[in-house]
């Protein structure tokens, strides 16, 4: 003996075509089933057929929306191209700027070395001059660097 809850569920499944043949046999043997079945069928039949329809231009609108959205996806790319170009230019400038201090440093180093060399040569000359002066005064040979 099936309870009413099960009968109702099986009738709903039967109506949607989801009840197995085996269960349908059991349901058919149930004395309460025909009344429940008739009730559900009558309810379905009493429901008004919906005459609501989408507007006739719906497809056109959907196509237009899809087209616009596709374009709006592409649009940022178009906007991004000059931005990317600008970014590339900026990168180039920054890199060039980044390299410049190195060049300056190298140049400075070269200049410093040259100045140091020039200074050393002058200093040596002064030393030689001083040495010969001391030598002429004292009459003895003196290595000033040993002082």
């Amino acid at each position: 003996m099936m309870n009413m809850d099960k009968i109702e569920k099986w009738i709903l499944l039967e109506q949607s075509g989801e009840l197995s043949a085996h269960r349908k046999k059991i349901l058919d043997a149930c004395p309460e089933a025909p009344a429940k079945r008739a009730e559900l069928n009558a309810l379905c039949a009493a429901l008004p057929k919906s005459d609501a329809e989408p507007a006739p231009w719906t497809v056109t609108k959907i196509n237009a929306r899809l087209k616009t959205e596709r374009r709006s996806i592409l649009l940022p790319a178009r906007v991004w191209q000059p931005i990317l170009a600008l970014a590339a230019c900026l990168t180039l400038v920054v890199m060039t700027y980044d390299f410049k201090p190195d060049t300056v440093t190298e140049q400075a180093a070269v200049l410093t070395a040259a100045e140091t060399y020039a200074w050393s040569v002058e200093f040596d000359a002064d030393l030689v001059e001083l040495e010969s002066l001391i030598q002429s005064i004292s009459g003895t040979s003196l290595d000033i660097t040993e002082m």
Binding site: L12, A38, L43, L47, A55, I62, R65
Partner: protein, 193 residues
């Protein structure tokens, strides 16, 4: 998905704009009818209907189901949930408030099917629709997915992301509530049947 639907969709994606018209024409009846039940008028329903198709076409790559209509209903369901969340009232009429889990909406007097309405002698179908409008959202959705959309309970379960048993129980509650609300008319219905 039916082979025809797959072919039509493929044709649309390869640039045949008329292919969309074929699909919309094929499914507009059940889909628009269902959306219309949950919308605020024809214009609103039109907007939702268009949005369903736009989303469906945009996400076609992710579509793996067999039945296109069922998938369209799934999108419509998600859209409706989004809209309801956006316009959610401070107290939900569907939230259970009593010990037996009855939603608040069940405890309040019906605003659609008063005695005046009944005595107006309106069409039986209109009265059923008005009574169905008072059902809790999930039950109402199952009811119309089955009655208007013609979806199987397996498909309804997929749309609502629940088990077949839950979908069946919701339908059972819906029918039972309609039976109670339309007690007088039910005899009329049975006689008509």
């Amino acid at each position: 998905m039916e082979i025809d639907d797959a072919k039509t969709l493929a044709a649309y994606r390869s640039g045949d704009l008329e292919a969309l018209g074929v699909l919309v024409e094929k499914y507009k009846g059940p889909l628009f009818g269902f959306i219309y039940k949950f919308s605020e008028g024809r214009e609103d329903a039109d907007e939702v209907f268009q949005e369903v198709w736009v989303r469906a076409i945009k996400n076609m790559n992710r579509y793996r189901q067999k039945n296109l209509l069922s998938w369209l209903f799934r999108i419509a369901h998600n859209l409706m949930i989004d809209r309801i969340r956006k316009n959610r009232p401070a107290v939900s009429f569907d939230a259970p408030v009593s010990e037996d889990g009855s939603p608040l909406g069940d405890l309040l007097p019906s605003d659609r099917l008063g005695p005046d309405h009944e005595s107006g002698g309106h069409d039986l179908g209109v009265r059923i629709e008005a009574a169905a409008a008072n059902l809790p959202l999930e039950q109402r959705e199952v009811f119309w997915l089955r009655m208007q959309g013609g979806l199987s309970f397996k498909e309804i379960a997929r749309v609502q992301k629940c088990s077949i048993n839950t979908a069946l129980a919701r339908m059972q509650y819906a029918v039972s509530k309609l039976r109670n609300e339309l007690a007088g008319e039910y005899r009329e219905i049975q006689e008509a049947g």
